[in-house]
Each structure stands twice: as C-alpha cells, then as structure tokens.
C-alpha cells in the first residue's frame, strides 16, 4: 500500500479526550472518589538526614475521624521502587514509611481523614522530634559518608561496559580530548501531582487505581508489602495528568495499598506541588567525564566514560539509568572501542528515577557538548566531524545490543543543516554595543524502541473484538500518558480493518482483565504495542474473511469497511451478526508480539539563541527539530511531543534545577523558585520529519516521545558556548553563570 492511500496513518485524527480536557470536564483520579474514602496526606521529613525520635500525634488524633499511621505501625520490608518485574533484584533500601528520614520529603507517617482539608489540619498539629545526622549533600563525598545515610554498608553501586581494544585505541590516537559535563536534578512537573487510590475488596483482593506507567510493575511493588499473590492485586490505570517518567516508579502505591488493607477502607493518597517535588522522583544528576581518542583524520577510534550519578536518598532505578546511559553511548557514533565506568551514589536529597529519556538526555548532553568543545580545540568543523562519525543505515551496535536499523541520522543532520541555514548563522554576531550575541548550535541524539536485546524482556499481548454493529474494541494493557497513544493505536486498527476510527475503542491497562505488557516505558509503545495492534487487527480480519467465505460460499475480503464476497457487498455489522448467529463464532482474536528488533530513533536539533552578556538571559529565537521517526502515525501527536520535549530541554539547558544547600535543604519547593520555560519564552519550533519506514514497526513507525527532549539541552548549550566563546559544561546555564562567564571572557 502506498503512503498516499493511507486513510488514517499519518493523519491528524483528533483524540477522543481532547474536548473534555480543554473544557476541564475530563475525569481525573481525584475527581471522583468512592464513598467512604479516607484521604491521606504524607507526613514528610523536614530534615535531610535524621532519626525520628518521637512523633506526637495526640493533638491531631483529637480531630474527629483522623487516623495517623507512622513508621512504627508499618512493615519494615525493604523494596526498590525501580524494580518492575519479580527477580530483577534491584538493591532494596526503601520502605513505605521510615524512622530514619534520609531527605527532606522522606515519608515518616500518613495522616488520614474524611477529607483532605481535615487531614492537612491534623498533619499541621503533629510534632516530630528529630536527631540530626550528618548531611550527605556533595556527590563527591557520598561514598565516604555513606554510613551516615544507610545502615546497609553499601558505599556505591558501580557498573561497567566495555568492548574493543580501548588501550590500543588510545595508544594509537592522534588526539585525545576530554571534558567533564554535569547535568542537574530535575523535577518532572506533570500538572497532576502524585496520587493513588486503594480499595480493599472482598475475597482478599486489593484494588489500586493509579495514574501509572507500568500496571504489572505496580502489582509487583504492592506484593512487596502485602502478603498477597499477584492475582489478588488488581491495578487499574487511572486517567493521568502527565508523568514524564515521574509516575513510572511506585512512590505511594505500596504505602496506599498497605494503609487501605490495614484500615479496611478505601484510601486515597494525595499530594500538593511541594510534596510532589520533595517526595517523589527526579531526573538523576550526572557528572560525566568523556574522553575521546581520534585518529589524524578526525575519526573516533575510542571513547572512555567515567560517570558519577546521584540517586538521591534511595537507589531506586538510578543504577538502571546509569547502565542504560552506557548502552546508548555506542549507538550514535561509530565508536570502535569503548569503556564505560559508572558509579551511583546516594545522597540526602530527593530520590532520582525515570525521567523522559531515561539517561539519554544525560549521556547525549555530555557527549554532544564535549564534541563541540573538542572540535573547537582541534579546529575541526562540528558538522563535518559528525557527518564523518555518525552511524550508518544497518550498522551493528558494537556494544552488543540490537542492530541500529534504518538509521537516518546523517540525513537528519544534512537536511536539517540546510533547512536551518547552518552555514549562514553558525558564526556569532555581536550587537553594536557588544552586549548581545546571537549564535547557533546543534546536537544529535539517539534513543531506543523497546527492550529487545537488552537486559529486559519485551512482550505484549492484545485482543481485538469486532462487535455486532461493526465497531471494534482493542483490549490492551497500555497506559495513555497524555501523548495520544490510545488514539494512535485506534488509527492503526482503523487502517487495517477499514472501520471508522471513531468506532474503535482502545482500553487501557487493568491487571485483572488485560493480558501482559511490559509497560509504557523504554519508548516501546508505538514500535512494539503499535505493531501488536496491527498484527491483532490483521488476525481479526483474517478470521472474519475466513468465516465469511465459508458462510457466503465465495472468496471474501474487506474493502473500505465493508465485506465483499463474490459479487455481494455486505456491511461489516451484518457480516459479524451473520457469523455469530450461523456459525456460533465471535470475531475475537488475541495476539502476542515479542519484537525481534529494537532499532534506533534519531534526532538532530538546531537552536539559534541571543545571549545578553549583562543579564545572562538567553532567548532561544529560531528552533528546528529534525527527527527520523520511520513513519508518523498521527502527525499532530508527533509535533506535540516535540514541542513539549523542546520545552523540557530548554529548561534543562538554562533554568530548571532542584538545588540543595550544603545543609541539605532544598532551595525550591514550588514553581516560584523552580523556574521552567513558559510560553512567552518558547521559540517557534519548526518540525521536520524523515519518514523512511522502519522495518518491524507498524507502517514503519518508531519512537518520538522521549527522544525529542534528548538533544535540546546540548543544542542550546552549544549555541551559548559558540556565542560567548565559553566552555560552559555545568547545567543549567543560569543567568548568573552566563553573566559571570561573559565577564571573564
């Protein structure tokens, strides 16, 4: 089928939830709670590292209906919130409530009442006595101070990757260049703060409703604190107001399930912005040294990484993030020999975890800033250098992961540079008074499409039923995170079956009724789940046509939403009814898909900025995002992801930071001090897509949601460094840092 003949693929179908969301009528979890629900707010530590000596809740408990559960009531079971499948054996150092508060925001008690207002009033009356311990604020000192923070004796969590003859490469190098780049701790800033509802049901079932990313991972997390088989733990994906990875790990789910189980009442845990910032998860900060060995012709012959990651107070999934960073280092440039050494340390700060890109923004920011600085020092052209070193179509990943696939990164760079007019805007232009400098920068990146050939399994199963009126239901375990995934899957079903997209319903995950899926993580939804939706649709069509051929005694096929059998054209609903009545068969099929490939997606972003050397403010003027997406399923969704990804990335480059004082106290607890790029400061983002159909994806589609935020920070930082002639590598480049650096120049 030619692309021009697609009825739904690549089209801008409007999502079913759009009108309600715009009108504020969409039903989020907090909007409709069951009768009799207790509302819980967490009592969070005000101290960065301290033992709780006493909790006096007597005044709080005098308020009618108030229940206070403290760490003394709670099981001490340790778990790791980043573990999403039994047996992953991530190091366990967290419990649902703790008497050793390890960061400002650590959970020490849960205060419950009939409504949030009463719960908060009760919370304000609780007096906590702390015995302070030394604060672990500096990641460089975290190992020697580890025993102050954890009693488990672990100083750090190291990991290594290595291939090729690194020593020989460095011995033979014509040039060896090295930089240290630091990326910061970032708040996800989903509009909906964290919340979860747990309902104890008869027959020893606990039911959770949560805006999460991995229902089966939540099931596993709850099983760590309740003595129930997985089959008795029902997890229903709730309507979600954003996640960006922040709701991937289970922060409040085990606590909520335990509280509801203990009290035999529905419990809804809710948080405000300050609590979500202090108590949930962050993007992990990284300090990375990258050293590159080049031959005389400017080709990379070897690369070494030394990465120090800050997990915050608990290990969480940060070791996974650190290891994944290493795996991504061999998939953008041809690096014949690579050594990656990482260490994760724990500090008395809010725990890190998954965050859009899962290590990709960190590793590519480190390498792309380094690449520009290295080129400047060696007098190499940064565009030429990348064209000479980027991976090619069909390359193997020397790191041992899945082949690169239909790589179009060179096309992205070449065509993007032309569209952006790189050659015309690459040199900085200074205003007459010398105060303002305009310059451009760019950066390349890659990201994956699932878990095939990684440390984790990748499999999904869906079922599709064509109903008696010719409409269809696709039953999945996926999670709509706000990106439009369920509409995209409906478009795929509609394209295959010819059923009008408005008559296709896609269900989200519910562990009791959904078949297994790995979860909405690893940028796998469109490539893996989308392909499963296509396969199950084909299977349903095949069943329908087989049955119809028997029934009508003529070769049957679906054409434009109707069935053609011999010289007859019959409406789909009528065919399904005939089949059901006469052959006693329903059109209901199930299909499991375990991908055999995990290609790379690519992106190249170009930014033109103007820096004010006195105020240090940077205005991003022009912006071009070029992406190798294989095929867009819904062009609007792809663009929407890119706009949001650019907004997050500019924040990473210039202003967003969860900063802590030497005393371990967080400097920001709300958006007055945590600065994000807002609409007036956003550039017009031009989007350019390269759509060359990736094998293995539905209609050739591959991922966009995470990768679009990956190259942004480096593109902007590179532009600033070009503008000012600086070598700034400590993100974010705040006005104070830029003004100080401009003054030094």
């Amino acid at each position: 089928m030619n692309k021009e003949d697609y009825k739904y693929i690549g089209r801008c179908v409007i999502r079913e939830d759009a009108a309600d969301k715009v009108r504020g009528a969409y039903d989020y979890l907090a909007d409709s709670l069951p009768q009799d629900t207790l509302v819980g707010v967490p009592l969070l530590s005000s101290q960065p590292n301290a033992l709780v000596k006493n909790i006096d809740a007597s005044e709080a408990e005098k308020i009618e209906g108030v229940v206070v559960l403290t760490f003394r009531d709670a099981p001490e079971n340790k778990y790791n919130s980043g573990e999403w499948f039994p047996g992953q054996n991530d190091f366990r150092d967290e419990s649902i409530l703790t008497g050793h508060a390890r960061h400002v925001g650590d959970r020490i008690a849960l205060v419950l009442a009939d409504d949030e207002k009463t719960a908060r009033r009760a919370l304000s009356k609780i007096k906590v006595e702390y015995e302070p311990l030394p604060v672990v604020a500096d990641i460089e000192k975290a190992e020697e101070m580890a025993h102050f923070l954890h009693e488990d004796g672990e100083e750090s969590f190291p990991g290594k990757l290595r291939y090729g003859d690194v020593e020989a490469a460095f011995a033979a190098a014509a040039h060896i260049e090295s930089d240290v780049v630091c990326t910061q701790k970032i708040h996800h800033a989903a509009l909906e703060p964290h919340c979860v509802l747990a309902i104890p049901r008869p027959e020893k079932v606990i039911e959770l409703h949560t805006p999460c990313q991995i229902i089966f991972g939540v099931q596993h997390a709850v099983a760590q604190v309740l003595p129930l088989p997985l089959s008795k733990i029902r997890v229903v994906k709730a309507n979600m107001g954003g996640t960006f990875g922040g709701k991937q790990e289970c922060v409040f789910e085990p606590l909520c399930a335990w509280a509801a189980w203990k009290l035999r009442r529905p419990v809804f845990i809710t948080t405000d912005r300050g609590e979500t910032i202090a108590a949930t998860r962050t993007r992990a900060a990284a300090r990375g040294r990258v050293t590159t060995a080049l031959d005389a012709g400017g080709r990379i012959i070897g690369r070494k990484f030394e990465i120090l990651m800050d997990a915050g107070a608990y290990l969480t999934g940060t070791k996974k993030v650190m290891m994944v960073m290493g795996k991504k280092a061999s998939r953008l440039y041809r690096v014949p020999a690579l050594s990656y050494e990482g260490r994760v340390v724990r500090t008395s700060t809010t725990p890190a975890g998954a965050c859009r890109g899962y290590g990709s923004p960190q590793i590519h920011t480190i390498t792309e800033i380094h690449t520009d600085l290295m080129c400047r020092r060696l007098g190499l052209d940064p565009l030429r250098f990348r064209l000479d070193n980027l991976v090619h179509d069909g390359d193997k990943d020397l790191g041992g992961a899945s082949d690169i696939g239909r790589a179009r990164v060179i096309e992205c760079l070449r065509e993007g540079a032309e569209r952006f007019g790189w050659c015309e805007c690459r040199e900085p232009v200074t205003s007459a008074d010398g105060r303002f400098v305009t310059a451009a920068g760019f950066a390349c990146c890659t990201h994956g499409n699932g878990y095939y050939k990684t440390a984790y399994h990748d499999v999904t199963r869906m079922s599709l039923r064509i109903l008696e009126d010719g409409s269809a239901i696709l039953r999945t375990a996926i999670h709509e995170l706000g990106s439009g995934s369920i509409t995209a899957l409906a478009q795929i079903v509609a394209e295959v079956t010819g059923i009008d997209v408005s008559r296709v319903t896609v269900t989200e995950g519910d562990t009791t009724f959904s078949s297994y899926d790995v979860g909405c993580q690893a940028s796998r939804v469109i490539y893996v789940c989308g392909e499963c939706a296509r396969l199950v649709s084909e299977k349903a069509v095949k069943l329908l046509c087989t049955k119809a051929s028997e029934l009508y005694d003529a070769a049957a096929e679906l054409r434009g939403g109707s069935l053609v059998a011999g010289d007859k054209e019959i409406g789909l609903g009528e065919v399904v009814r005939d089949i059901m009545r006469k052959t006693r068969c329903s059109i209901d099929v199930s299909c499991e898909h375990a991908p055999e490939s995990n290609p790379a997606s690519f992106g190249v972003h170009f930014a033109q900025i103007t820096a004010d050397k006195l105020t240090g403010l940077v205005k991003v003027g022009r912006y071009l995002a070029v992406h190798d997406v294989g095929q867009s399923i819904n062009r609007n969704f792809v663009e929407g992801q890119i706009y949001g990804g650019v907004q997050m990335g500019i924040g990473m480059a210039l202003c967003e930071e969860l900063d802590y004082g030497a005393d371990g106290m967080p400097k920001a607890d709300n958006f007055d001090k945590y600065h994000m790029v807002n609409a007036p400061d956003m550039p017009e983002v031009e989007v350019m897509l390269i759509e060359d159909e990736e094998p293995g994806g539905p209609y050739g589609a591959k991922s966009i949601g995470e990768i679009c935020t990956v190259p942004v920070a480096a593109a902007v930082v590179n532009a600033v460094n070009r503008a000012l002639g600086t070598s700034l590598t400590e993100l974010p480049l705040t006005p104070a840092k830029i003004a100080a650096a401009a003054k030094r120049q």
């Binding site: 008074d433 807002n678 003004a739 100080a740």
Partner: protein, 278 residues
C-alpha cells in the same frame, strides 16, 4: 478562621474594633501564604467592597490612586500612563495576567516583599501613601512603609490610597530583570523619575528594589542623572549601592551585572520618553 468581615466602608471597618484583624485585598500573596495555615481564631477582613479605596483620578495637581486598584487597571489607565509611567511599567510586568487582574497596588506595598515591583516605582514618583486607621489619617512616603518582608504600619492601619504629584514635565520609567521575560519575580529592578532639562535629568529620584528592601534610594544615581555622562556614571552608582546594601552576598556579582544592564536600558527608555514628550 472564626470570622470573615466584609465591610463596605472604612468607618464600618474601623467600627469592628477587634484586635488582630487581618486585612486582605487581592489576596494573591496572602492566600498562598496562609492556605491551610490560618489559626482557628483568625479574623479576616476582606477589603474588596470598600469603594472609597478605589478609583484613579486627577485632583489638585495630584494623581490619586485607590489602594484597591489592580495592576491591570493601573497599566490600562491613561492617567497613570501619563503622570506615572514608571508605575504603569511596573504594573504591566508584575506577575501573570491572572495575578495582575487581582493583585492590588496597596497590597503590593503592604506585603513588602523585597522583590515587589510597584514600591520602587511609587517611591521614584514621590508617592505618599494615605494611611488610615480608627484614629484618623496620615501621609507617609512609600519608601518609609516598606521594610524587610514586613511593612512599617502600626496595628490597625491600612493603606487607603496613594497620592502622586502630577507633573506633566516629568518622565519616569521602571525596569526589571527576572528569570524569564514574563511571569517572573524580580531578581533586580529599578525605577527613576525626573524632569528632562537640556539633555540632563533634573530633580531625579531613583530607587532600586530587591536589595534587602523593596525600595532603596540611590542618591549617587540621582546626582548622576543631573550631570553629563549618565551612561557611564549610572551603572557605577547602582553597583556601588548594591555593594553597600548586600555586601558579601553570593548574589551580589550577578545583581551588579544585571544592574549594569538595567542602567543601560533605563537611559535608553528615559531618552525615548523624553523624545516622545518633545
């Protein structure tokens, strides 16, 4: 909270005769600060129905601005733009559209945040606040009301209105640097007012905000405005003021750099307004 009073006049307000009454106007700072934290016996007086605290008018050579006027009404007022453009500038860039629709000028001064935007503008314009209480009224220069996160009003006193000399010969301007171009709290701000005369600025008044208090007068800058070479002398005067106000503070180098930017922009804006008047 045990009581919410909604008086319709100042006399009704002052007849309440209750100790510890908290006054709330637009509430854009107050509500955030007190959400969930109000004591059980708090008494709150909502001032928003007191009409005599509203209005913008020209009266006997003075511009009178009711304390309940919002940022939006200030920057949209032709009178404010003509006689107090620094105040219109400040009101226009304060907070967000939604905040500007509710936040009042009286509240912005009384709240006394060091990063507030209207106090330096009002002070540069020589504004006096009319302070009212059960005992009567008194007039106080705005810069004497704002303290460090705390105003210098006595218990039971409130700002009824502001009185600004309406001088058509005078120009003024306000500028700020925040973390963003819009919806941003000032890292540093500056306001100046003066009469242009032969290429110089006479009777200059210049106030800087966010250096510990919301409106700190800079005498050296005012002198510089009346002499040639302002482009060179103004940044030095402002940097010296910052060094004196917040010595050794880690934010000092950045504030000084930003003040150099504001000095440049202020010279340009004053020159532009002078040219527009001529």
């Amino acid at each position: 909270m045990t009581a919410l009073e909604r008086p319709r006049s100042l006399s009704e307000l002052f007849s309440l005769r209750r100790a510890g009454v908290t006054f709330v106007a637009g509430g854009t700072d107050w509500i955030i600060r007190n959400r969930g934290r109000l004591s059980d016996d708090a008494v709150v007086a909502d001032l928003s129905l007191i009409d005599e605290m509203r209005g913008i008018s020209l009266d006997g050579g003075y511009l009178r601005i009711g304390a309940l006027e919002t940022m939006t009404s200030l920057h949209r007022s032709a009178l404010v733009r003509k006689y107090a453009s620094a105040l219109a500038d400040a009101a226009y860039v304060m907070g967000s559209e939604q905040i500007r629709n509710r936040a009042t000028v009286g509240g912005n001064v009384a709240n006394s945040s060091p990063a507030a935007d209207t106090p330096p503008a009002l002070a540069a314009l020589g504004a006096e606040a009319v302070v009212a209480s059960a005992e009567g009224k008194r007039r106080v220069p705005v810069e004497e009301i704002v303290g460090r996160n705390k105003n210098n009003l006595a218990e039971g006193e409130l700002i009824k209105e502001f009185i600004i000399p309406a001088d058509a010969e005078r120009i003024s301007a306000f500028l700020k640097v925040g973390s963003r171009s819009q919806v941003s709290i000032s890292r540093i701000n500056v306001a100046a007012a003066a009469r242009p005369q032969g290429g110089l600025y006479k009777e200059g008044r210049l106030f800087v905000g966010t250096l510990g208090v919301a409106a700190r007068r800079c005498a050296a800058a005012e002198a510089a405005m009346g002499a040639p070479g302002l482009e060179k002398s103004l940044p030095e005067a402002l940097c010296a003021l910052a060094a004196e106000a917040i010595p050794g503070r880690p934010t000092l180098p950045y504030k000084q750099s930003a003040l150099r930017a504001l000095a440049q922009d202020l010279c340009a804006k004053l020159a532009e307004r002078r040219a527009a008047d001529e």
